[in-house]
Symmetry: C2
Subunit: 645 residues, 2 copies
């Protein structure tokens, strides 16, 4: 081949790919797309072939997309490249797409076109031996052609990098993502409540929420949201006006809006007066505005213009049942709204098949997205509003606690203790470790016999709490392993003996490693605080109300470590039981400020000690406002083979 070659697209059978790579190298090609399948996805032989491909490309200094992919498209006028194995190329536009699935890419390109969208870039990145979604994100961050990013993800290669990039990027442009594999079981042992409650999908949810990524559940929703964000401004608020020529769909839209927590406020007197001037007397003018079936295209357009001037609303959804030819309504709106580039988004629902043929353009860059069903329009608006609100939040920062002392904490990690206990730190050590990070914990002592327990209890002062000390029994209360408020040495001795007898009767005598003794902590709300390690996403932090609230009601909230200063409040807001902390039925409000700080300190501890695989503080007592918190029990698990030296 004469001249220089920038890009090679390789579509030969898998067995010949390596040879072609060598040929490319000789020609000085530095960009390669390997469309051929038969690599990492195809058994032992394929995996080996992929390893060799990666090694070769790396050695030659090549950048590779694929293998096992559909290829890429770039509609930039200076490039105008279609290097994808797809039957159609959508028009130029502002959407860029990354798809882990090749074949799905074909469908995505079809949906781009049928949703009146256009693409800037499309990349099906297959087995991603080199270029990943993260690389694309980095590129798209400063790419002026890209306004909206769509990701179809099957796995995360490097979630920390994704998080860092996405946090920065979503401040400028929206990322809409479908993550497949929600139902996959992580294959991770449920080592604690936190582990059992935190599926991988919860981690994805937390990751996306913390990074401002718009998570959609389906490809359909992805495009519903995209066609709004690509052509309409972000709303300033949640107040939606609904304009319709039929009552029923107006009600369906209002139902959906309220269900999403949006508002459908009454329009102002002035707006109603102006609408009444040209709408029939049977029309309903409050909101939804029902112009009734006789509405003309001109009335649609005029009513919409007037409604958008009402300061009581932030956006409008126009619903049309095609009583008249839909073209009349579309062009009526377009004509009356010509030149509109205001700050309020407009969405439309034409209840008919074939909505993709409808085009309503109020300005060169303002195409009104048209949906077939009112609920889809409302959902798209809701997602854009949620994203808009995220953009107004200050970016969180990870706080530093100068006094939190890794070195001091490490003294608690004596290998003998950890190893003897199968990786679990005993509660008295775990509580001591928490204290080093400024997380208050109850004074905790151990005893190995009934008599010793009585002696220790006397030192602590009555009333005491005596708990079974066992690293193998998780739910101590099930086995009557927690005795509250013991008042005397006799009660301690008797309690110890009964506990032992009961365990022996249950065949669990060996699980008893003595007891721990603590002063009785009175008052406060029982909170559970946990961390479990997701194999892909790293540490997940959980907070919730203790007892049956966590165990049956699953009333818990998650964030991915590290927590920024804005994460705890978000987590609190997700708890149905939050009123219990804010002063419930005459109880005083609890110390949320202290709980917030404990969460952040907890995250600092996790940062410093990466050997930790799981933590559960249960209960953490949260006292009345100004009175702080107190961890009463805690377990810490170390990664196998990482027990500290």
């Amino acid at each position: 081949m004469p001249g220089d070659v920038d890009l090679a697209v390789i579509i030969v059978p898998a067995e010949q790919v390596l040879e072609v790579i060598d040929q490319c190298a000789r020609k000085g090609v530095i960009g390669v797309i390997v469309i051929s399948a038969g690599f990492g996805e195809a058994g032992t032989e394929g995996i080996e072939r992929q390893r060799l491909l990666r090694e070769k490309a790396l050695a030659y200094g090549m950048r590779v997309i694929g293998p096992n992919c559909l290829g890429i498209m770039n509609t930039d006028a200076e490039v105008n490249l279609n290097a994808a194995m797809a039957g159609l190329m959508p028009p130029r536009g502002s959407v860029s797409i990354s798809s882990h699935s090749g074949a799905l890419g074909i469908a995505l390109l079809d949906y781009v076109k049928s949703n009146n969208l256009g693409i800037a870039h499309f990349a099906s990145i297959g087995n991603r031996i080199d270029i990943s979604s993260n690389d694309l994100l980095e590129f798209w961050e400063d790419d002026d052609n890209t306004k909206v990013i769509l990701l179809y993800l099957e796995t995360f290669g490097n979630p920390r990098r994704f998080s860092r990039l996405a946090r920065r990027l979503t401040r400028k442009k929206p990322i809409i993502a479908v993550k497949a594999g929600r139902s996959e079981v992580g294959g991770r042992a449920a080592t604690s409540h936190t582990g059992a409650l935190a599926g991988s999908d919860i981690a994805v949810d937390a990751l996306f929420r913390q990074a401002g990524v718009i998570r959609v559940n389906t490809i359909e929703e992805m495009f519903n949201v995209a066609k709004n964000l690509a052509h309409q401004p972000l709303p300033k608020g949640p107040r939606l006006a609904i304009l319709t020529n039929a009552g029923g769909p107006g009600v369906l839209a209002a139902d959906a809006a309220i269900n999403y927590g949006l508002s459908v406020p009454p329009l102002s007197e002035e707006t109603r007066r102006r609408l009444a001037q040209f709408l029939p007397k049977e029309a309903s003018l409050v909101n939804p505005v029902d112009m009734i079936a006789s509405a003309t295209g001109e009335q649609f357009g005029k009513a919409l213009s007037i409604i958008l001037e009402d300061s009581a609303i932030d956006a409008a959804i126009v619903i049309n049942i095609p009583v008249r030819p839909y073209q009349e309504v579309a062009s009526g709106i377009q004509k009356e709204m010509a030149g509109y580039e205001g700050e309020k988004p407009v969405l439309a629902c034409f209840m008919m098949s074939g909505t993709n043929t409808i085009e309503i353009r109020t300005a060169p860059d303002r195409l009104v997205p048209v949906y077939m069903f009112p609920e889809d329009a409302v959902q798209a608006f809701f997602q854009s509003y949620t994203y808009s609100r995220y953009r107004t939040l200050k970016a969180g920062t990870v706080p530093i606690f100068p006094e939190a002392a890794e070195a001091k904490a490490r003294k608690y990690l004596e290998p003998s203790a950890v190893l003897k206990n199968g990786g679990w730190l005993p509660p008295e050590t775990a509580l001591g470790l928490l204290k080093e990070y400024g997380i208050p914990a109850v004074e905790t002592k151990t005893a190995g016999s009934a008599e010793e327990a009585a002696k220790v209890a006397l030192e602590i002062g009555f009333p005491v709490v005596m708990k079974l000390r066992s690293t193998t029994i998780t739910h101590k209360t099930d086995l009557h392993g927690v005795l509250l408020g013991l008042q005397s040495e006799d009660e301690v001795i008797q309690g110890y003996k009964e506990m032992k007898t009961r365990l022996e009767a249950a065949g669990q005598g060996k699980a008893m490693e003595g007891v721990i003794l603590q002063p009785l902590v009175k008052g406060g709300e029982e909170i559970i605080l946990g961390m479990s390690l997701d194999p892909v996403f790293g540490p997940l932090v959980m907070v919730g109300l203790g007892g049956i609230q966590v165990e049956l009601m699953k009333d818990v909230a998650f964030s991915i470590h590290p927590l920024t200063d804005i994460d705890p409040d978000y987590m609190f807001s997700q708890l149905k039981g939050l009123p219990l902390l804010n002063g419930w039925r005459g109880s005083p409000p609890r110390d949320l400020d202290a709980l917030r700080e404990v969460l952040l300190r907890f995250s600092a501890l996790i940062e410093d000690l990466p050997e930790i695989a799981a933590v559960e503080i249960n209960p953490l007592m949260v006292f009345d406002r100004g009175k702080g918190t107190m961890a009463a029990d805690a377990r810490i698990l170390f990664k196998s083979g990482t027990a500290p030296m």
Copy 2:
């Protein structure tokens, strides 16, 4: 007009309708459709006009559809009637539609056609001064042309009749319903739209569930479900096979299935062996079966035939990304599956725009429904499975309790007591009333002073519970109005005085109507049992865990009165807190049998005493299995103006 006239379709202006009705009567017309608007939906004048229309039609013995409607269609070959103001008439088919909204009817007819469906009957029934959805249901019950019924409802005229009809009908054919007006704003719009009352959404859920009606949230979902039920058999179970030519969409479908509680089990060795014979070695054969992008139409068809023979699955979803021309895949499936009328439903997802042009027919009545997105296919299957399971349940019956004595109960309803208390029966009377229906209640006495309280407590025997007696204060515990386990006359006297002082300090001194005293009930789980009167649906019965479980976690379940013998178990199954009743963490299991009976007796009480507007039994203690239940506090409110004589 010469000859007889069966039906008049009136489309004149509203002012002339009454005159035309007279003309019709003179001609002997007995069937009338009034399409004209300007009646009940159009202010005072319209309401009066509607009243006159109704009177006239009644007097003439006419049957009327409308006014303010779109009209009707009937595709029966012997009738072949299009009397609707709509631009298109779908082909003949097995779906019958009733729509409260006229304009929406136009959209519904469009969706019928674009979903490859046909109609038996279509009726837009507008203001329904005569013919209602219920009349249509009664007609469709025995109509052989109608296989699937679609309802768009804005209000319920007679929910009891609806429930009775639907319970019977859903045993034979599915009813799929959208109920608009879920939210308050939506409800407000529905009210102004139709001039009738909007129902509470929880009641609608319960009504539909108890009657076997398939509730869908959107019109889109309605058609997704309908096109499956119209052309495919009901599944025998939840085990789904997924056959695809691309991994990604297969994962999305599996995610959706697991999320709905369906299963995606591995296929048998035998099936996998048969598939391996003609699929490439890169194909994944477990489930989802990924034939990879090279799959031909013939391979689709053959693989599907083989999979359907596997006894491990109950249904199949075929997913096609149009790598090849979609026609090849559609005809490949049709050819290989020709004549298939087996018991397992087959659904398809072609991920492309324009799915409505795809027709895959395996037998004259077996059209494979085609969806654009995998999640829609899974949702349609899930709804058909849920309905299929309902059909296998025995129909519930309302039990009779011979000893429940209305006459004896009425002696508790002394007008003086009720009226003095603003319609609320005092707790001691309410508990007495429950006892007459065989619902055990704690012995309860009253006292008006500290000294009297001490005397009564002595009679009851210590320890006693003393509660504030007040019909105006709902949450007694907020005001420290419940004292548990008082041990002596002194404690009672002191407790009484403190309660009084505290109330006076809170400015609520007058709310105290003395106290009630009860023996202390020990053990058991606190349950709340309630009834509230929905203005449209009548009494709604609620059960849930007491305390914060009901107040914060909203862990409650509802049924519409009257309860049949199968309703309590359904309600229990809806409670997240159910494990607390079934033996939780070493606690003994509670007496669910007794609780079930209490719910049914409670329903009998509501049936006998229609004057009751609300009941709250809180707490109802449920003891260990075999030990029964005990109501410890109860309030009963009477409808205003209906206080018993």
